[in-house]
């Protein structure tokens, strides 16, 4: 236990010091690592801890992204105020989807598919509705001052992402140590037994999705503040859903550090393939190659290593 805490603190210290020494290019990568780990953790709460696999988690991301952007651009809200509003929106959407889906008794694959359908509905709406500027997307006016939640120096985005990531780790840690988390795990393992032991399965699942939605929406806002642009395919496209799912499953679903480890692993793969692409000219486009590798990893993880990379650590410690 003591060793674990020491390790965490060392990691945190490294993460804090890292951008002070690294070039901007690496700082941006670092930011992405923590950002993906953060939204991955939001998926982990629903999919890893509570066992409700979602294929459409991007719906919360996009809700957050559009909410804060519309409030800023159309209603001139300060982005720091729009941020909690976005989280509230994510909360509400999470509640709504969970209420509908679980009230109808949807589980397993059916739940996964309906989340996908909801994401698609949101995407089509965003593409067609005037207040999102449709397919053109929305631009946030570049005015890099801290009070606008925009920073000239990428190091600040890095730190925001780091803070969010640490916060998400603490939330996950609290889940492993409290009643709510224990109940979610029970639901994941066996819903009927959980019911028999007094757990209101419906209510707990809805809570999990609500929390997950709020977190994911927070990530959406951060993303738009960094890149200053959002459109329906960025906000509600399948790619982010896959990413969140993937980093968690690869790292270890239902563990505290799973999403972070998965994010580091996937970012590494991404950079490696980028390096490969620059050397092998035949590979026109890097992004799909990374995704091909991700897809293969997903199959291998589910087939051979269902506990993800964290499962490797666990096995070692159990034999020790």
């Amino acid at each position: 236990m003591k060793r674990g805490i020491a390790f965490c603190l060392a990691g945190l210290a490294t993460a804090v010091v890292f951008p002070l020494l690294a070039p901007n290019y690496l700082i941006n990568i670092g930011m992405l690592v923590f950002f993906v780990a953060f939204i991955g953790q939001s998926w982990n709460i629903a999919g890893g801890f509570a066992g409700q696999t979602s294929f459409g988690h991007v719906v919360f991301f996009g809700t957050g992204a559009y909410t804060s952007t519309i409030l800023q651009v159309t209603y001139s809200w300060n982005p720091w105020l729009a941020w909690p509003a976005a989280m509230l929106a994510g909360c509400i959407v999470g509640w709504m989807i969970a209420f509908l889906a679980f009230r109808a008794g949807l589980r397993g694959s059916y739940f996964a598919l309906i989340t996908l359908a909801f994401a698609e509905v949101f995407r089509i709406l965003a593409n067609s509705v005037p207040f999102t500027r449709g397919g053109l997307g929305m631009l946030i006016k570049a005015d890099p001052r801290p009070m606008n939640f925009q920073f000239k120096d990428p190091i600040w985005f890095y730190y925001v992402a780091l803070v969010l990531c640490v916060a998400s780790l603490l939330i996950a840690w609290q889940l492993t140590r409290g009643r709510f988390g224990a109940r979610l795990v029970a639901i994941r393992e066996n819903e009927d037994a959980a019911r028999a032991l007094g757990i209101d399965v419906f209510a707990e699942k809805v809570k999990a999705l609500t929390l997950s939605g709020a977190m994911c929406a927070a990530g959406g806002t951060l993303y738009v503040q960094k890149y200053l642009y959002v459109d329906p395919s960025i906000a509600f496209g399948v790619d982010k859903s896959v990413e969140m799912l993937l980093v968690t499953m690869v790292g270890g679903a239902g563990t505290i550090f799973g999403p972070l480890i998965g994010s580091i692993a996937l970012t590494t793969i991404n950079e490696v393939t980028r390096g490969l692409a620059s050397v092998v000219p035949a590979l026109k486009n890097v992004q799909p190659l990374s995704l091909v590798v991700y897809g293969v990893m997903l199959v291998l993880i589910v087939a051979r290593l269902p506990d993800g990379l964290m499962g490797l650590f666990r096995r070692k410690s159990r034999h020790a």
């Binding site: 140590r177 409290g178 009643r179 224990a182 109940r183 795990v185 029970a186 393992e189 066996n190 009927d192 037994a193 959980a194 019911r195 028999a196 032991l197 007094g198 757990i199 209101d200 399965v201 239902g254």
Partner: protein, 242 residues
């Protein structure tokens, strides 16, 4: 404490439970027996809220609980175990039991201690750190018992807790159950193992093809020709007596 009146439950055209009525008074150990397929587990499931009865009433401590959802019935003080064990496979025995303990506390430390106490009562202290998936059949049965116990029930519905155990294990569980009753928990159990029924139960109900066909002390039941015929077939009672 528990009143079941004329409970009916059908699946498709099949009447699984047909106007079953039974009573369990506080502090008793009552057994529900009957041949395979008699509908015992269905009756349990209907009492505990997992099936909605088609007809009839269930009252617990005077309050009507018919068709309440299982988690509310559990909160009211009645808990059931499952015949086919349902451990939470990927977490430890301790964590399993804590899930039950969390019913009446939100505090992890309290739940932790509860789990240890309960584990002690059922004799699982040595296995607290094993994963649910790694337990033997006997271990899983004890875990079912321990988890249910941790919720602090006043009435415990045990579904074939002895199935698959060897005589030594059975004798141990019998002692455990007796201890639980002495600690103030009322017990209604489904059992096939007659040794357990005769040593534990004060009263026995016999279920056959969904209907209660007999009620009485274990000794009286054993003599009842209807009961003998339910198990051994039509006319068996006469043959045996001859």
């Amino acid at each position: 404490m528990l009143e079941v009146r004329e409970l009916c439950k059908s699946f498709g055209g099949l009447k699984a439970v047909d106007q079953a009525s039974l009573d369990v008074r506080q502090g008793e150990i009552v057994a529900l027996i009957g041949p395979n397929g008699a509908g015992k587990t269905t009756l349990f499931a209907a009492i505990a809220g997992f099936h909605r009865p088609d007809d009839g009433r269930v009252a617990f401590d005077g309050k009507d609980i018919t068709a309440l959802p299982p988690h509310r019935i559990c909160a009211a003080g009645m808990v059931r175990t499952f015949q086919i064990t349902q451990p939470f496979a990927k977490i430890t025995v301790r964590e399993n039991i804590m899930v039950g303990a969390y019913l009446h506390t939100a505090n992890r430390v309290v739940a932790w201690r509860e789990a240890e106490t309960v584990a002690g009562m059922v004799g699982m202290t040595a296995q607290l750190d094993r994963l649910g998936a790694d337990l033997t059949v006997a271990g899983r049965k004890r875990l079912e018992l321990a988890r249910a116990l941790a919720t602090g029930p006043r009435l415990l519905l045990l579904d074939e807790v002895m199935a698959g155990l060897n005589p030594t294990e059975i004798a141990e569980i019998v002692e455990v159950i007796r201890g639980i009753r002495d600690a103030g928990v009322t017990i209604l159990l489904i059992e096939h193992v007659m040794q357990a029924v005769t040593s534990l139960a004060e009263r026995v109900y016999v279920l056959n093809q969904g209907r209660i066909i007999a009620e009485g002390t274990p000794a009286a039941i054993a003599e009842d020709p209807l009961v003998v015929e339910a198990y051994l077939g039509h006319g068996a009672a006469k043959v045996l007596r001859a």
